[in-house]
């Protein structure tokens, strides 16, 4: 390890220092009664600048494929998820600015904590050692628990945090046990060495050890990615947490779960033929999408509906991992589909949540029936929400369609016909509840007493950016496909 390797962890350093800066500014300089208003508008600005600087700090890592500080891979795959996390956290901060005002006196730490989550994600997606994976995973979880319970006066927020914490603690304990089994079998925690060890051993003996280990690992990763049956925390936490935090949990945090899952499974177990992880993933994918969609049909609360929709979407995304192919030259290698899907989903879902937050902020209502006649009260929000819903349903030309196209494409290539048939039926089921929201917004007469919804500039910017990106990803997807494919091949090239 050389000291010059520090340039590869610059983004993490920037985020760390930036988070500390926001904490300090909040406490020392701006915490005066007269400046509360100013503090709440300055701190998010500082946080966004920190994110931009962190994005610039990724430049030295560009195009590298190496291991820094023995546990951190510097590769295109990690960079993809770091960029995704920065974009996600930035958009969440934008929606939180008007939302936090007046809801809690503790505004400053929120933005610092959001920066900390970005730091945790950056570490988690580049870790190539089970120890660092566990530590950064816990790091992300603990910050998320705090964020979910951020409204300490609000009982629902408290319930959200507690549920999230209890499930999370259990999941990570189980995951740690799985990691210890792997260490016991191979004598190492380094992913590449695990792969090497597994390939030299007599593999037949290891199956009985590795299958439980894999399932235990999945409990941890699946908890973050909200895969069934590790999803039970999601609906209550999504409903109770401050809505910007919900938006974060359903996008950037979920993407992190998938990133770790892919790195561990591809790098450590990818080249080992006798360890049957693909069938396990197929079964989980089928259960996840079917359960998520069927339960979503019955929801009356928008946040809960989006929670179950987010579970179902995780099922589609998992198809890409299950269909992952070792050949990085293929245009549909599964992994690139997952990356495309996650990025498109990030913008789509954050956009949908931005609309939900904007409406909740004005009216305090989050039931689907409160959206009746929204087209009269907030035509632009209603129109944008239709775009997001169509993208979630996978209707072209949107980013959501592109994601499904690539994930399904990988499965067609692997000839997983039964999985595909179930996924296709699920897509149709999902269209029903997505369009149900559109039905309320456009077909149902408005409540005459309901006033027009005022949209503050931060929401307008967030909704505008996400809507434009969602459509652009459908119309001009070439750059994203190239980026995702390059990132995916950096991961796949680790395979023997």
């Amino acid at each position: 390890m050389k000291l010059s390797d520090i340039v590869y962890v610059l983004p993490e350093l920037v985020l760390l220092l930036g988070a500390a800066l926001v904490f300090l500014l909040d406490i020392l300089w701006l915490r005066r009664a007269a400046s509360a208003e100013r503090r709440m508008s300055w701190l998010p600005g500082v946080a966004i600048i920190v994110l931009l600087v962190a994005a610039l700090a990724m430049i030295p890592s560009q195009g590298q494929q190496l291991v820094a500080a023995t546990m951190i891979s510097v590769d295109a795959f990690a960079l993809f998820f770091k960029a995704l996390a920065l974009m996600g956290v930035g958009l969440v901060i934008l929606t939180a600015m008007p939302y936090m005002k007046g809801r809690t006196p503790f505004g400053g730490e929120f933005y610092a904590l959001m920066l900390v989550t970005a730091l945790a994600i950056s570490l988690a997606v580049s870790a190539n050692n089970l120890i660092l994976i566990y530590v950064s995973f816990e790091f992300l979880s603990i910050t998320s628990y705090v964020l979910a319970g951020y409204f300490r006066e609000d009982r629902k927020s408290g319930e959200a945090a507690l549920k999230y914490f209890l499930y999370g603690a259990t999941a990570s304990a189980v995951m740690l046990y799985g990691m210890s089994l792997i260490y016991g079998a191979t004598g190492t925690t380094d992913l590449a060495q695990i792969s090497a060890a597994l390939r030299t051993r007599d593999q037949a003996d290891l199956v009985w050890l590795m299958v439980p280990a894999i399932i235990m690992l999945l409990a941890g990763f699946g908890f973050k990615a909200s895969l069934v049956p590790f999803h039970q925390w999601a609906p209550d936490t999504y409903e109770g947490a401050p809505t910007p935090v919900t938006a974060f949990l359903s996008t950037a945090s979920k993407a992190t779960g998938f990133a770790i899952l892919m790195r561990v499974f591809i790098t450590a177990f990818g080249g080992v033929a006798s360890i049957p992880w693909a069938p396990v993933l197929i079964v989980i994918a089928v259960i996840t999408m079917s359960l998520g969609n069927l339960v979503a049909l019955r929801q009356t609360n928008v946040k809960r509906l989006l929670a179950y929709s987010s579970i179902a979407q995780a099922g589609y995304i998992l198809i890409g991992v299950a269909a992952a192919s070792a050949n990085p030259d293929l245009t549909f290698n599964g992994i690139n589909g997952v990356l495309i899907y996650l990025l498109a989903y990030l913008f789509t879902n954050l956009g949908a949540f931005a609309v939900v937050i904007a409406i909740e902020n004005e009216t305090g209502k989050v039931e689907i029936k409160d959206y009746a006649g929204l087209i009269y009260r907030a035509p632009l929000l209603a129109g944008a929400l239709v775009i997001f819903l169509l993208s979630l349903a996978g209707i072209p030309p949107t980013g959501g369609f592109l994601g499904k196209f690539f994930v399904f494409g990988a499965a067609v290539q692997s000839q997983m016909w039964v999985l595909l048939a179930i996924a296709a039926i699920n897509t149709v089921v999902a269209a029903f509840y997505y369009l149900n929201i559109a039905r309320y917004m456009f077909f149902t007469p408005r409540d005459e007493a309901a006033a027009r919804v005022r949209v503050s500039p931060a929401f307008a910017v967030t909704v505008g950016i996400t809507a434009v990106v969602t459509v652009l990803l459908g119309l001009a997807p070439q750059p994203l496909i190239e980026w995702a494919s390059a990132s995916a091949s950096s991961l796949l090239s680790a395979l023997p």
């Binding site: 209707i395 196209f405 067609v412 269209a431 559109a438 039905r439 456009f442 077909f443 496909i481």
Partner: protein, 525 residues
């Protein structure tokens, strides 16, 4: 210019749609009524541009050269070899005309009868036109799919927002959407399957490569993935149940477009993709296609006969009439590979395509005519009608032309399409064709007995419908008033074309015939 022609035709409606969203009232300080009038006028006016260009395209298409013309092919998503590939052949040119023609009429008619949420209506209608035109020009499977799915969205809103509350528009709208989507998701999987065999999403390359040929399982799966998606849209029995609901609930112009163009997208898809790309599988399952067609003909006709709601009756008659198309296609599929039957099979296909076109004209006209009576009486129940011939003779005359076209009366356009379908099918699948021909008798029965007799003949009873509306002024009347000027303007062009193509079918048949002779000769080798 030649290269841009199709792009201008397709995307002018999109431009128009975006223009309707601008705050014209604020800019020109107009009140709401005037702004709405401006939007109505502007949308109708802008739709005449694609119509004019479509007529130009009709004459500019070089029939003696045949094949794909006005092609444009530029890379779109290079990573997976998707290109923006568009072009027209003898099959698509008439339907581009039909789409733009019915859209302009629909917009004009709607600008007189749509009174609520005007801006949204014209925005969605123009968006819908773009989606439909896109399907007819797309020569890349991804592009085709994008337009195919995209067209669902505006129609969903058109049915749901402007439907009459008693027709359950919300239910009908989502049913329409989910049925079509259920088919098209599987089509998407088949499209991906083609890509992994041919390495491209190009429709023409796929036709040349004939993916999965020789592999019974995969070719059958892929063929049915496409065929069912298209059969739902056509719609063929047993996938037709969304159609009566959607038709009944949709506003008049929406029904016209639904029957006139959207159903044709399904048949077009079969002729453009399912048949030429999977000739082997189509041949293997030809009898299934024929049987579905014949069942649709008979079943649709019987169900039509049992309806008392005029709009529902015409909706079911569409199921019956679209059955002729499947019969023709199935007959041609049965003849694939047999060089002696090239004439008969291309005749059957030409008849099928002509049926698509004439059904678009006649059923489009019939739905406008239902709109005419509904705007006045606010009921569509045939039991409430009767004796209108004496009160509304002009209406009776226009209705008769459309109804007789639908029935297949010689010298009207519908006759030729049925003649060609059956003439072709007799030579190939004679038994089925004989069964199918019963449908013509049944059609005559429901048109003459059900519609003409119950609506126009008999004594007019003023007590049946007490309240009539004057469509021009909105005043209440005590008796029906004959067709208003704007309705004549809407209906006369359709009537003229029904008669014109009845007397000179060759004007349009040459388009189809040349295309299908080429196709069947290519497949016979």
């Amino acid at each position: 210019m030649n290269n841009l022609l199709l792009i201008i035709i397709t995307f002018t409606p999109l431009l128009g749609a975006l223009l309707t969203l601008l705050p014209w009232g604020k800019w020109f300080s107009l009140d709401k009524a005037r702004e709405e009038r401006l939007i109505k006028l502007g949308a109708t006016a802008i739709s005449t541009l694609p119509l004019g260009l479509a007529i130009m395209l009709w004459f500019a298409y070089n029939q003696s050269a045949g094949g794909m013309q006005f092609e444009v092919k530029v890379p779109w998503i290079e990573a997976i070899n998707v290109s923006f590939h568009i072009g027209v052949d003898g099959l698509s040119v008439p339907f581009i005309f039909l789409t733009t023609f019915l859209t302009t009429l629909g917009l004009y008619y709607s600008s007189r009868v749509i009174r609520t949420r005007v801006r949204e209506f014209f925005f969605l209608f123009l968006l819908l036109e773009m989606g439909m035109l896109g399907v007819f020009i797309a020569l890349d499977l991804v592009l085709f799919y994008v337009f195919w799915e995209f067209g669902l969205v505006p129609m969903y809103f058109l049915i749901g927002i402007w439907g009459q509350a008693k027709d359950r528009p919300q239910y009908s709208a989502i049913k329409f959407f989910l049925y079509t989507m259920a088919g098209s998701v599987f089509m998407l999987l088949a499209i991906l399957g083609i890509y992994f065999v041919t390495g491209s999403f190009d429709i023409l390359e796929a036709q040349a490569a004939q993916p999965f040929a020789g592999n019974v399982w995969l070719s059958s799966l892929a063929f049915f993935a496409f065929f069912i998606a298209f059969a739902i849209k056509v719609p063929s029995w047993p996938f037709h149940t969304w159609l009566p609901d959607a038709h009944t609930a949709a506003p008049t112009a929406g029904s016209v477009i639904l029957a006139g163009v959207l159903l044709k997208l399904g048949a077009y898809g079969i002729l453009r993709i399912a048949l030429p790309v999977f000739p082997e599988a189509a041949h293997r399952f030809a009898i299934v296609i024929v049987a579905l067609g014949v069942i649709s003909i008979i079943y649709g006709a019987f169900v039509s006969m049992a309806q008392w709601d005029l709009k529902r009756l015409i909706a079911y008659s569409s199921v019956s009439h679209m059955g002729y198309i499947l019969l023709g296609v199935g007959a041609a599929a049965a003849a694939i590979g047999n060089a002696e039957l090239v004439d008969a099979s291309s005749m059957a296909l030409s008849g099928a395509a002509l049926q698509m076109f004439t059904h678009g004209l006649s059923t489009g006209a019939l739905f406008f005519l239902v709109g005419v009576i509904y705007e006045r009486a606010h009921v569509r129940d045939l039991k409430m009608f009767g004796g209108f011939s004496s009160k509304m003779p002009y209406f009776y005359g226009l209705f008769a032309v459309a109804a007789f076209t639908s029935l297949g009366l010689p010298t009207l356009a519908g006759f030729w399409s049925e003649l060609f379908v059956f003439r072709g099918a007799f030579a190939i699948v004679s038994v089925w064709a004989v069964i199918g021909i019963i449908g013509i008798v049944l059609t005559a029965a429901y048109i003459l007995w059900k519609i003409v007799q119950h609506t126009f003949l008999g004594e007019y009873d003023p007590n049946k419908i007490a309240h009539w509306t004057d469509v021009e002024t909105g005043e209440e009347l005590h008796g029906p008033k004959d067709v208003a000027l704007f309705e004549k303007v809407t209906l006369w062009p359709l009537t003229i074309f029904m008669i014109l193509f009845g007397i000179f079918p060759a004007l349009i048949l040459t388009f189809f015939n040349n295309t299908f002779v080429d196709l069947m000769q290519g497949l016979a080798k």
